[in-house]
């Protein structure tokens, strides 16, 4: 990750109470977006994200996951969100997610997300997600796959990276 003044915090959220969705809006003017999320789960589920509140079947992802004994790769197409997880995260585990969105504001290409999902109690994941839209990403929604709430103390931070 590049150092210096090109790495700018856009917004951060630390949950003071449980809530189902965390959204970020208004992050124009950057080249790339980098998100660091440390959500706390109330029940076993996976972390997921959508862009611009699009719930259509416009997402796909390819995952490489290690569960501590085996490594596997899997893929889903025509999904309604990008799911960052495979075996699930429980309420006792402390996952963290690092998400890079390159060239997120262009209006010519589909958008790719590069994801590292880390859960020492369950799995290590390297993943790529695709949103089949040429729209600029103007908002990001994080949620749990089963619709449950993120718990108090969950943290979500968005950084903007400028090429110049």
């Amino acid at each position: 990750m590049a150092a210096g003044s090109t790495y700018t915090p856009i917004a951060t959220t630390t949950l003071g109470s449980a809530q189902a969705t965390v959204s970020f809006n208004s992050f124009s003017g950057y080249t790339d977006i980098y998100a660091v999320c440390a959500p706390l789960f109330g029940s076993t589920s996976n972390f997921q994200m959508t862009f611009n509140s699009d719930s259509g079947s416009n997402y796909s992802n390819t995952i490489l996951v290690g569960n501590g004994s085996t490594a596997v790769s899997d893929r889903q197409s025509n999904q309604t969100r990008i799911v960052a997880g495979y075996n699930g995260t429980s309420s006792s585990q402390k996952p963290m997610y690092q998400i890079s969105l390159m060239n997120y504001a262009n209006t010519s290409t589909y958008k790719t997300a590069l994801i590292r999902a880390n859960n020492a109690g369950s799995e290590t994941i390297a993943q790529v997600g695709l949103w089949r839209s040429t729209s600029a990403i103007t908002s990001i929604q994080f949620a749990m796959q089963n619709g449950d709430n993120f718990q108090t103390g969950s943290t979500f931070t968005l950084y903007g990276i400028q090429a110049a």
């Binding site: 590049a2 951060t12 501590g68 996952p95 290590t124």
Partner: protein, 170 residues
């Protein structure tokens, strides 16, 4: 514009080598910590094929666990360990080749147990090398104020380096 990615401290190993690289008195004034590593050891404790680096937090290797996803150049595998160790280039590997790694600690001064990630690659002009993606957990609620990177056997050789950055979210 905010300067959110600040160098806290750095170490470049000198000609005598070093058993460890130690960052002490890490302030709690940042949101996250990131460490950029370039490491090579002069010994190969695991079957003579590579070196190993171990992370200590606040002076201890206790309460550390990891789940690792690893590629060797011929196969992908996964392991669980009760430590924060990972493979680096050692004396058996191509000379002048250093492993490169990135370690990231979000919310390192918070009151919850600390999860972290390690992305590390070793490379050489040989048959086997290892790329390790690691989910780590330090099951302690104290703020992280010390990070130590140790050679499990032997020394880190000259030009090994570690750079510790503090990241602010505002």
């Amino acid at each position: 514009m905010a300067n959110t990615f600040e160098l806290i401290s750095s170490t470049v190993v000198g000609s005598g080598g070093a058993a460890s690289i130690d960052f002490t008195s890490i302030p709690s004034t940042y949101t996250d910590l990131a460490v950029a590593l370039s490491l090579r050891t002069n010994n190969d404790p695991d079957g003579g094929s590579y070196g190993i680096c171990a992370i200590s937090i606040n002076g201890s290797t206790a309460n550390l666990t990891q789940r690792r996803l690893q590629g060797s150049g011929s196969a992908a595998s996964s392991f669980s360990f009760s430590n924060a160790q990972f493979p680096v280039d050692g004396s058996a590997n191509t000379a002048s080749t250093f492993a490169n790694g990135s370690v990231y600690f979000p919310n390192y001064a918070g009151s919850a147990n600390k999860s972290f990630s390690i992305d590390n690659v070793m490379e050489q002009n040989g048959t086997t090398t290892y790329m390790a993606l690691i989910a780590g957990l330090w099951s302690q609620t104290a703020a992280i104020n010390q990070l130590t990177f140790s050679a499990v056997s032997g020394l880190f050789v000259q030009y090994s380096s570690a750079y510790l950055y503090g990241i602010k979210n505002s």
